[in-house]
């Protein structure tokens, strides 16, 4: 259990991760806080569709919930503008979920994501829900970020982002998480800490 948690320690909503990448790409995403952890691996078999595995763990004082399932993601629409890009994504998953100590039951996952970014401004909204006989969780987040400088393709990109996140069933109603996002080449890393002092780490790689 501890190993599983550590492997997943690295997410919540993986806010910032595009659920569909370039054609032929594999992308691995790990992330989390101390209460929600996330693991995703997808293959983008077209520029608008990806298929893979998604696992999540939710832990609070009352429950310890797990979900694992296969997932299909769609890029519903992309606006490629001269100075910006905007995207709408949708995903469906099917698998199993369980509470600690209980047996697993069939479960479903759904998510919707919208984002808009220029080289200096970043905004994203994402909502995700998981439902089974015993488990019902929803994670909704909104993120706003600025880049302190315009990084070129080969340079280290830096973003300063504030993420507002709500996880249903958790003790706190809304988490506010300031974070720093760094990426260079195929590597992506986010480090943050909620105003309550809970750390966040997200990692992603394309290959």
């Amino acid at each position: 259990m501890k190993t599983f948690s550590l492997c997943l320690l690295a997410a919540t909503a993986t806010a910032g991760a595009h659920p569909v990448s370039f054609e032929g790409a594999w992308q691995l995403m790990l992330g989390g806080t101390d209460t929600v952890q996330n693991f995703e691996v997808y293959n983008s078999y077209t520029p608008k569709t990806a298929f893979g595995l998604h696992a999540m763990r939710f832990e609070d004082e009352r429950d310890d919930d797990y979900y694992t399932g296969l997932q299909h993601n769609w890029l519903l629409h992309r606006w490629n503008l001269p100075e910006a890009q905007a995207n709408l994504y949708f995903g469906l998953g099917a698998g199993a979920a369980k509470q600690d100590g209980e047996s697993a039951a069939p479960a479903g996952l759904g998510f919707f994501r919208a984002d808009y970014e220029t080289r200096r401004i970043y905004t994203a909204f994402e909502t995700k829900f998981i439902s089974s006989e015993d488990v019902s969780r929803a994670v909704t987040s909104a993120s706003f970020g600025v880049a302190p400088y315009k990084a070129e393709f080969e340079e280290l990109n830096t973003w300063l982002i504030v993420q507002f996140e709500h996880v249903s069933g958790m003790e706190d109603d809304l988490d506010i998480i300031p974070k720093i996002r760094l990426f260079k080449g195929p590597y992506f890393l986010e480090l943050g800490c909620s105003l309550d002092g809970d750390p966040l780490i997200n990692f992603m790689i394309h290959f």
Binding site: H18, F22, Q85, K150, E152, K184, P186, H206
Partner: protein, 113 residues
Amino acid sequence: MNHSIILSLLGAWLFLSGSARAATERTMTVKTTVDGMVCSFCAQGIVAHFKKHPAVSNVHVDLTRKVVLLEEKKGSSISDKEITEFIKKSGFEPKKVERVSESFEKVKADKKS
């Protein structure tokens, strides 16, 4: 008289075939304007796709100028159709493909155009 005509034709053929060979063996630089290219992490696919093409020896993504530069290998060529397809497979919108006579490094270093 006949000899001079034959020699003239032979000279012209040698000149034209030499020019044609020089043109195909010269490295060409291809400059493609692309919309939506605002994030280097998301643009990784462009480099990944073009690096696999046997006619391409070098790739450069310039986010400021919104261009992708390709250097073609001597004697090889990548078609405009392939370039357009690769950009689309990478998730972006190609706008214009042009071939320029300047070297890849010179166009890469030129920050104005």
